[in-house]
Amino acid sequence: MGMWVLLIVLLCVSARAVDRSNFKTCEQSAFCKRQKELKPGQSPYRALLDTLELSDSRITLQLINDNNKVRLLLELYRLQGNMTRVKINELKPLKPRYEVPDVLISDPFTETLSVVSQDENSLVLSLGGKDQRLIVSAQPFRLDIVEGPQVLVSLNSRGLLAFEHLRARKDTISHKISSTVGSMWDSLKKEEDKPGMWEETFKSHTDSKPNGPSSISLDFSLPGVEHVYGIPEHADTLKLKNTDGSDPYRLYNLDVFQYELHNPMALYGAVPVLISHSTDRTMGIFWLNAAETWVDISSNTMMFGKILDFVQVSSEAPQTDVRWISESGIIDVFIMLGPKPADVFTQYASLTGTQSFPPLTALAYHQCRWNYNDQEDVKSVDQGFDEHDIPYDFIWLDIEHADGKRYFTWDPSKFPQPKEMLQGLMDKRRKLVAIVDPHIRVDSGYKIHNEILSKNFYVKNKDGGDYEGWCWPGNSGYPDFTNPEMRAWWASKFAYEQYEGSMENQYVWNDMNEPSVFNGPEVTMHKDALHGGWEHRDVHNLYGLYVQKATADGLVERSGGVERPFVLTRAFFAGSQRYGAVWTGDNAAEWGHLKISIPMCLSLGLAGISFCGADVGGFFKHPSAELLVRWYQAGAYQPFFRAHAHIDTPRREPWLFGPENTALIREAIRQRYALLPYWYQLFYNAHRTGYPVMRPLWVEYPDDVATFSIEDEYLIGKDLLVHPVTDEGATAVTAYLPGKGEVWYDVHTFQKHDGEQSLYIPVTMSSIPVFQRGGSIICRKDRVRRSSSCMENDPYTLYAALNSQGSAEGELYIDDFHTFNFEKAKQFVHRHLSFSANTLSSRNLAPDSQFSTASWIEKIVIIGGSQPSSATLKNADGTESALEFEFDSTLAVLTLRKPGVNAAADWTVILR
């Protein structure tokens, strides 16, 4: 037994204490190396225009590779909402190639593609209005999407389309092929086997590759584009870097121990969505492929610079080239044509869905640690928050809570009475998250394992046996989450009667779902492992999404479909936004990691995943008090707000750093709670539209070139600008306030600043530079209590910040904060608030919805206003009453005392 434990520890430790060399470079990944050997030039592919077939929804035609005569089938779709889909597969593959299921929310709606003209070497198709055309060139094959005279995007313009067709192993072919098919044999013979086509070894791990080479590649040219974003997850800048001379950005979900900053290495999740932006247009490329993928980015901006503004030679305009390379599957790419940032978000949301609408409590503060040791510990931490008057909603339990890392169970000595513990939290209107990871301890005494075994739900190894690997519990099996029956079974395990000791205020966290396999190649699953008929190679980046989906489904089911789920995941893919929140994994208590949390979450937001956060304080290592305080201040203004710490670090609950720091942390968390109505409304909008909650400045100021590379500040919605302090010993920050003619107000002092300027802001330890946009109305709940549930019926204060025209508008969204009734029964309040011409009014945005709230309007603060002689409140029933007010003339802040109207009512306030 002792040895057993020791062995596990050694294995875990050695496998987790890895460095960069444990992960492949492109050079070490055989298909990437092969593909990178192909240089831009004349494409061997030719479109056979005479094979054109046109139907209502699509056109198809064949492509031929003149070198090996292998034919491909090209499908072109015009999709509703200004998108074009391009699919390329082998015309007659030896066996089917993997097409990613379950990511698109439905078959996209198509629109008619019509042929505008056709000649020997080209085909021109209409993409609808605005002179948008899709031009197919036959030799060499190339696609261009143009709008009028302007080329928006070209495909295969650099000739990097490469499609490794499936083939039989040569040694087996030579016996079977008869001389009668000699000519075909000749052409095949020309294609020599290259290293790594049929077997590949990396660090003692051999990939058997029974299907041989299968990689695909395609290049995209974006004329006029200097800025591209997205393709999370990387610990890198918001604006993607030129990868000439370095490795391409890699998308391959991996458990990377102590990841490094500013490099293109793969991390825990992958969303193959790239957004391009220029003052002219915002576009997106969605490469729907779940296999290992590399993205090369090359731009020629550096060479030309600003001279181009005066030289109208289109061929020399700045251009960014993007090349996608994937190990298997097919080419299935969606070109989202914008033209505005919001259009791209709508387009992508129409394909993969929007952010799930979390219960309000999930947007509050989360207290986590690996590990809260036992029930007593949970209780005393809970009490600690009350003793220090710090709000929190969730306490989290990491892997040590389970009995021998057998998820769905409780350690009998540390957590003998989980329900008692959960009830204690419920009495305080608080919640708990317990971890459930997808690796299952191989143990004949473990019910979950036995059931999976008897239902044959485990992933198989290449020889057909159950795949086993090492993870936290030691030897573990990995359920096949790609199997819908397996997912249904998994979901059923969250039923209260199945998951013993669980209660309705317990939610779930899926970690290690890349999947992490301590003794596997690159700490993940062998690519030749089998998910039914498909290789792990094909589905790898999708595994984590399925785990979170199955878990979220389980939480919905256990409540009879009533309650909104909350599930946090580390691994993710395109579409993961539909199932919950993600965090940026195992970061470290370093200033650099605090800084990078902003571009990392911004990139995720651009790729549809709004509910993002980083471990506050940093997971590894021990933060200084200053770093911890700064991280709370930054985290309070990021979507997912959770403190977390490694088991080997000293305790760091907010009150352990002296009374001054406790007060600073308390204040940061209180600011979060006061703003919860705004966060909630933004998440409702994200759920409705797909707009990110946390946005780069350029999303709202697409014409302001100065914003394009900013990543040390960002917008929450469009009305709050946040520039957290992320430097040690900082005495000032310089924030860029965007927008010509815009005004911004410091939310703490109400000081007014003009837009389109860099503002020097002196800071102290208590400073969190946040600005409200003039022209906005933000609703807050200033009565901060010990958890968000306690604030449910509290009144709102409206902060109307006036623009230079003296007007402002905003929204207020209210529902029961935790069920699907807003959707199923239209039970919600959605108000439009506007102030103009000295009249503030609340108008119903959803007349067909119904919800009654106890909340009312306690105060209205008009920032940048002037002193009226009277203020009159007009109720919906026509009654009028005078409102008392105060006016601060130095700051021009008018405070209306206690309107007292219900938050759901129609009302007007008139200033005279």
Binding site: S413, D648, R786, V901
Partner: protein
């Protein structure tokens, strides 16, 4: 809906069945009642402004200090007072008013939230009184025990101090005794040494005579062989040449395997040739290494000197063992014999066996009776001296130990003295924890495995007003990638001295709870009457 309510409330403070009516705004403690006068403008308690009285508790925050809303949650920094009749009154932050959670046992904080709270003050009061009573009993008894401990400790300390004084006196005597015995020993050793030397010298001379004779015979033999070799005749010029010596590689001085001409010349004192007379001066240079050439050809001669029997043993040994040492050892007198065996453990045992047999052959004759008597006398003096010296050392140790003990901070009244050199154990499901106060703490797996040091005594580390409430043990076994283990021991008043719990709140930082009468405070008042109701 608006929350306009409760400008004034009647608070019914119920105490032991006697209702008392006190009129004041909700949430105001009795001590501040005078600031809230009905129908008179209310001045915020910070003096910042005055407001009409109907704005007190009107669910809107008018005062920056929150004093206008003692009974609502409107002010972010306000506080609410609950009377909690039957239990103890308390203040809660205003944010806990009507938040759906019962904070005040008299339920007054949840007057409009729908939370179903029950008045638990009586029950809490009863329980608290029980606990207090129990605590008081424990404290009382504990304090008595503590007094006893203090007495004991003081007595013990006194005893130890006087013991040290006594011992220091004794030590002086012992010091003197040691010095006397040293002189006695030295005096006895001088004649012993001289007698032994005499005896040895006589034996040496005898040995030398025998050796000289043997040597001469050997030299003659060698000279004959060497000359015989070269010339093949007994000529007039009987001599040994350099080249003849060169054929004897065993004489090679730099051990490079060959005896060079220069080396051979060196052995021969620089001469090219030597005759019998001069060979006598060459012989000492070569005799130790010289191999008789006849030897390998002849069956081992009976008279072969022990030197040469031993030689192959040495040569065959894989470890180089300088021959010089051996011959020196033989030549050494026997006085040093014992020292040699004690000191030199490195000598390979294989060498010792033949050496022994050789010694037996040439054993020193026994001492004569006079010498033996001197030796016996000296030995007795030595034994006496050593015994006295040992006694002195032991006494020094004892004094040091007592002084060390006396140097510990055992509390203001030495009440923790009794813990010294004691150990207390706690067995949990997995481990046995062992606290040895002022020494160390350890953890041992219950079912086998090695002990882990959780820290050695560092210091008292309680709060400034009473540092004797916490003990800190530091620098225990290091943690993987982490700090060295350390333990904080929290001391609470108890009748017994026991470890009541251990935990590891943070990785490798342990917390141990320990009860002892030594921290029991003097009961403030022996009167254990039920808790006073401050509100009434």
């Amino acid at each position: 809906m608006t929350c306009v309510h409760l400008l004034l409330t009647l608070v019914f403070a119920v105490s032991l069945g006697t209702p008392v009516e006190i009129q004041r705004p909700r949430g105001v403690p009795l001590t501040k009642k005078q600031f809230y006068v009905e129908n008179k403008p209310f001045t915020c308690l910070d003096g910042s402004r005055a407001i009409p009285f109907d704005r007190v508790n009107d669910d809107y925050c008018d005062c920056k200090d929150g004093s206008d809303e003692p009974g609502t949650a409107a002010c972010p920094n306000g506080s609410f007072h609950c009377t909690n009749a039957g239990y103890r009154p308390m203040f809660i932050p205003s944010s806990r008013i009507n938040d759906g959670i019962c904070d005040c046992c008299d339920t007054t904080d949840e007057y409009n939230s729908g939370a179903k709270c029950e008045n638990t003050c009586k029950e809490l009061g009863r329980k608290e009184r029980e606990v207090l009573q129990k605590m008081a009993e424990i404290t009382k008894e504990g304090f008595l025990l503590k007094q006893h401990l203090i007495e004991e400790a003081k007595k013990g300390q006194q005893e130890k101090k006087s013991k040290v004084t006594d011992m220091q006196g004794n030590k002086k005597q012992l010091d003197e005794k040691v010095e006397v015995l040293r002189t006695v020993k030295e005096t006895a050793e001088q004649p012993e040494k001289e007698a032994k030397e005499r005896h040895l010298k006589a034996w040496e001379e005898q040995k030398a005579a025998i050796r000289l004779e043997k040597d001469k015979a050997k030299m003659a033999e060698a000279f004959l062989f060497l000359t015989d070799d070269e010339d093949g005749l007994l000529s007039l010029c009987i001599s040994v040449s350099v080249s003849e010596l060169q054929s004897h590689a065993e004489l090679d001085a730099d051990a490079d395997g060959t005896l060079t001409e220069t080396e051979a010349q060196g052995l021969m004192g620089g001469a090219e040739q030597v005759d019998t007379s001069t060979f006598e001066s060459v012989w000492p240079n070569i005799k130790d290494k010289y191999h008789s050439e006849s030897q390998p050809e002849e069956p081992a001669p009976v008279e072969t000197p022990p030197d040469e029997v031993k030689e192959p043993v040495v040569v065959n040994d894989s470890e180089p063992y300088p021959e010089d040492d051996i011959s020196e050892e033989e030549d050494e007198d026997d006085e040093d014999e014992d020292d040699y065996h004690e000191d030199d453990d490195k000598a390979p045992p294989t060498i010792k066996a033949p050496e022994k047999s050789h010694e037996d052959e040439e054993a020193m004759p026994p001492y004569d009776a006079d010498t033996q008597a001197l030796i016996d006398a000296a030995q007795k003096a030595r034994d006496d001296f050593e015994e006295a010296e040992k006694a002195l050392r032991e006494m020094d140790d004892q004094i040091r130990n007592i002084e060390k003990e006396l140097s510990f901070d055992f509390g203001p009244d030495a009440e923790f003295t009794y813990l010294y050199s004691q150990c207390y154990e706690l067995t949990t499901s997995e481990y046995i924890y062992r606290l040895c106060p002022f020494n160390r703490i350890s953890q041992k797996p219950k079912y086998g495995g090695s002990e882990t040091n959780l820290g050695t005594w560092g210091s008292w580390s309680g709060p400034e007003n009473n540092k004797y409430l916490l003990m800190k043990y530091e620098h225990g076994t290091g943690c993987w990638q982490g700090p060295n283990r350390s333990t904080t021991v929290k001391l609470t008043c108890g009748k017994e001295t026991v470890v009541t719990s251990t935990s590891e709140p943070s990785r490798c930082e342990y917390l141990m709870e320990f009860t002892t009468p030594a921290v029991c405070q003097e009961p403030a008042n022996t009167d254990l009457s039920p808790h006073d109701h401050e509100e009434l």
